[in-house]
């Protein structure tokens, strides 16, 4: 039965990891602009310019 305690602690730690990821996402400004990135991702990279 004591394995449950270990598993619960592990599950909490994993969940905590996701919480930290969310807080980081907010802090880095990902929630400030929820529209522009959806357009930006559709732009093609220009291959010629990459060589420079």
């Amino acid at each position: 039965m004591s394995v449950i305690a270990v598993l619960i602690i592990i599950s909490l730690l994993i969940a905590l990891g996701f919480l930290i990821a969310f807080l980081w996402a907010v802090k880095s400004g990902q929630y400030n602009d929820t529209y522009t990135p959806s357009v930006r991702i559709l732009f093609d990279d220009e291959k010629k310019k990459k060589d420079e």
Partner: protein, 807 residues
């Protein structure tokens, strides 16, 4: 693209998509409408930015009507520092507001700015806010060069007086943190409470204690961080001796926390931490839902957003540009065509033809001669003039309006006071029930009395009550937004529902800006006559000439010879050898030899008349009157059934008869209203205990808009300037005004209905609590269930009613 056709009509500009009227601007097979568009194309092509045109067809911004400006004020060190967000010895970061941003090509080009100039290290667009953040090396490219580069591509940033004065508020990231933490804790506590829900008998006390303490630890951040706003708000209310809606909420959260902590520490129960964290989580969701904001709109604009940041002054014979804030009395300023006069001043040189329509509501430009006083805010329509400043910017006639008290008042949201009133009686009733039932149980045991007392307070926590408002009004504000009626916040809806009197401004609000009703009175003109008159009218920027030009249809534009413009009288010129004159009767009449039809002379019609003569023959006149917005008659008709209706105009009585045709006799109409008169009129109606809804558009309405209970700015383009207000209405939605008002009333009724639902749940919960039977499971089911049903009722009902009202 047709290359063969002789007609140039069908050719669209490759850059901006407008019709090309000339063949002069061509690159290869591509046509351009003007030199500006062609230059941008060449610039982008040289820098391998041709992609701009492949994302969207003709994405460019038209250069027509854009005056080239000078940006030398951006060399001023103080201006640079105040405009930049960040500056060190190498890098500068600035944020520009660029209203021209409209499509994905714009984003692409603006984010590839670094290819146009190596001094730019990085640029990023926020599309919804229409903002561009640029990071650049200021030793490689100056701020001025950067702005000039942007302007040359058609994306000229708006830099007004207030750009340097206030910093925009940061986005509220706190709320996201709070929700994230509450969600995390709520989810995990639910998981750890499962044995309790399923009544699994855990024999080993070790797990009981472990789960209990884990829940306790997880509840701590929710109690101390996520829920902190409710405690501070309740405390602030108590300090002002007000019991607001947050008080029973805070009390519920507190009791839940204390009782659960007690149960866990004494190991007498599992606690209600799941209910507590769930409650906080739902409340925060409601909060984020009601905070619907329109990032691209600004509801707080004063004259400072309208006035330019810089002005040209003449000093020691030389011309230089300085920030308006540094303008002193006695300075000599130069105002070019279409520029705004920033301070009260006296005309020193040149002829003034000032358009005050935005500041006073007068629709016709005013002629000014040397030595005359010109008030700040007017727009010069003729060529450059020189003025001497007699008052500082903040002391000018117009700007003084902002010293009025109505700009200081912070409108208290009435609805909060309504819910607070509910909250007050609610709290009193609950406390009463709690203590009576506790007193009853006291005869059995103190423990069960305490149990009942806390149970009642827990279950009565008005979570559903508190959620009904944000969800009903939050959803309504979205429905309004979809119909192009943008509200500042949710309390505006409640104020709208209480409106008793409606006031309209005339110029720009019920009439369409730049649009006029033109009729030609006299024998019909033949196509050739139309073309030559159109060609003449094209040369003048006077609003009446523009109206005539727009009114006449004609495919060909001819060259004008010997063009003359007589300020205040008319214009004339030779078109293919024909003398064409447009203007006042006296101007047109002066070289007419034989007397034409005398009926043409006397017109008792409303509006302005522009007479036309070709080769010294008066052919008739153009009657130009205001163009009322589509649906104005119906809107006025419907509104006057239910509300006291009035129209205030800064204009003269010319339009009176025309206007009266649209309105019911009961409507009050006032002309020649100064900004102060309008404000006082609103106050007068409010004195008779009527809530006032004011529609306006210009700076002259700013005082009245601020004073009225709901001030709505009507605008044809929501990214243009509009004065401070509670809501912004896109002119396209003007016809829907009666529906908006009706819907706001419906929203309030939906809130009442949600209140009833939430009370029903409270009664069920209370019946458990009074009997002392409130187990954590019952609480954990009842609370989310009531919240979910209220939330779904509010959302579905508002959507359904909106559909029925055609919104």
């Amino acid at each position: 693209m047709s290359i063969s056709g002789l007609s140039i009509k069908n050719k669209k500009c490759f850059h901006c998509g407008e019709d090309c009227t000339t063949d002069n601007y061509q690159v290869g097979f591509k046509n351009f409408c003007c030199a500006g568009c062609k230059t941008v194309y060449e610039l982008l092509n040289e820098n391998n930015l041709g992609n701009y045109y492949t994302i969207i067809d003709a994405p460019g911004i038209s250069f027509k009507g854009i005056q080239s400006k000078r940006f030398d004020f951006l060399e001023d060190e103080e201006v640079i520092i105040r405009l930049s967000e960040f500056k060190d010895d190498k890098l500068t970061i600035v944020n520009f507001y660029i209203p021209q941003i409209h499509c994905s090509s714009c984003i692409w080009l603006l984010e590839n700015l670094y290819k146009l100039n190596p001094g730019i290290s990085f640029s990023k667009v926020n599309f919804l806010k229409k903002e561009l953040e640029v990071k650049f090396y200021h030793n490689k490219i100056s701020l001025r060069e950067l702005v000039e580069l942007l302007a040359s591509t058609g994306y000229e940033p708006v830099i007004q007086l207030d750009s340097i004065e206030k910093k925009k508020p940061k986005i509220n990231q706190q709320l996201y943190y709070k929700i994230g933490i509450a969600a995390f804790c709520f989810g995990n506590i639910m998981l750890l409470s499962f044995p309790e829900y399923l009544s699994i008998d855990i024999h080993e006390t070790f797990y009981r204690t472990l789960f209990g303490y884990l829940n306790f630890i997880l509840a701590l951040p929710v109690f101390f961080y996520s829920a902190s706003d409710y405690f501070t708000s309740a405390y602030k209310g108590l300090k002002k001796k007000i019991v607001n809606i947050n008080f029973p909420l805070a009390l519920g959260i507190l009791i839940l926390f204390v009782r659960s902590a007690f149960e866990i520490i004494t190991q007498t129960g599992a606690g209600y931490f799941d209910s507590m964290t769930g409650l906080v989580f739902f409340l925060l969701i409601g909060k984020i839902f009601q905070e619907k904001t329109y990032a691209f709109l600004n509801f707080e604009r004063s004259y400072k957003s309208y006035f330019p940041l810089a002005v040209h002054i003449k000093e020691g014979g030389k011309e230089k540009s300085i920030p308006v804030s540094k303008l002193k009395v006695g300075d000599r300023i130069i105002i070019r065509k279409n520029e705004i006069i920033p301070a009260d001043s006296i005309l020193f040189e040149g002829s003034g033809n000032i358009d005050y329509s935005f500041v006073t509501g007068e629709s016709k430009p005013v002629q000014k001669v040397l030595g005359e006083l010109i008030y700040a805010g007017g727009r010069q329509l003729n060529s450059a003039i020189e003025l001497e400043v007699i008052k500082e910017v903040s002391q000018s006639y117009l700007t003084q309006l902002w010293n009025n008290d109505s700009f200081l008042k912070k409108t208290e949201s009435n609805f909060v006071s309504f819910t607070d009133a509910v909250g007050k009686y609610f709290t009193l009733t609950i406390l009463l029930i709690a203590f009576i039932s506790a007193a009853f149980w006291l005869q059995y045991s103190t423990a069960s009395a305490l149990n009942v007392l806390t149970s009642v307070l827990i279950v009565a926590c008005p979570c559903a009550l508190a959620l009904s408002i944000p969800f009903t009004l939050g959803n309504s504000i979205r429905i309004f937004g979809r119909n192009k009626f943008y509200l500042k916040n949710i309390s505006v809806i409640e104020n709208l529902a209480k409106i008793k009197a409606v006031i309209f401004d005339k110029t720009g609000t019920i009439t369409e800006t730049g649009k006029t009703n033109v009729r030609f009175i006299g024998p019909a003109l033949n196509p050739f006559q139309k073309e030559i008159v159109k060609s003449l009218a094209r040369n003048s920027t006077h609003p009446l000439s523009r109206a005539v030009y727009d009114h006449l249809d004609g495919n060909k534009i001819y060259e004008i010879e010997n063009y003359e413009e007589h300020t205040g009288r008319g214009i004339q010129g030779f078109v293919l050898g024909n003398l064409v004159k447009l203007g006042s009767l006296n101007f047109v009449k002066e070289d007419v030899s034989d007397g034409p039809d005398s009926t043409l002379y006397n017109s008792d019609e409303f509006g302005s008349q522009v007479y036309l003569s070709i080769n010294c023959n008066i052919l008739g006149y153009f009657n130009i009157s205001n163009y009322y917005r589509r649906g104005f008659e119906q809107v006025a008709g419907e509104l006057s059934k239910k509300y006291g209706l009035s129209v205030l105009s800064g204009d003269n009585e010319n339009e009176k008869e025309n206007l009266e045709k649209y309105l019911k006799p009961a409507t009050q109409i006032f002309f020649r209203q100064t900004p102060g008169d309008k404000l006082n009129f609103v106050k007068k109606i409010q004195a008779s205990a009527k809530k006032v809804l004011m529609f306006g558009d210009g700076l002259n309405d700013a005082g009245a808009l601020a004073q009225s209970n709901v001030g709505v700015a009507v605008t044809e383009n929501i990214s243009y300037f509009s004065p401070a207000c509670d809501a912004i209405l896109d002119a396209a939605a003007f016809e829907k005004i009666p529906s908006f008002l009706e819907f706001s009333k419906t929203s309030i009724k939906i809130i009442y209905a949600s209140f009833i639902i939430s009370f029903l749940y409270n009664i069920i919960g209370l019946s458990f609590a009074i009997e002392g039977l409130l187990s954590p499971v019952v609480a954990a089911i009842l609370m989310p269930l009531s919240s979910v049903s209220v939330v779904s009722f509010a959302t579905i009902a508002t959507n359904f009613m909106a559909k029925r009202r055609g919104l």
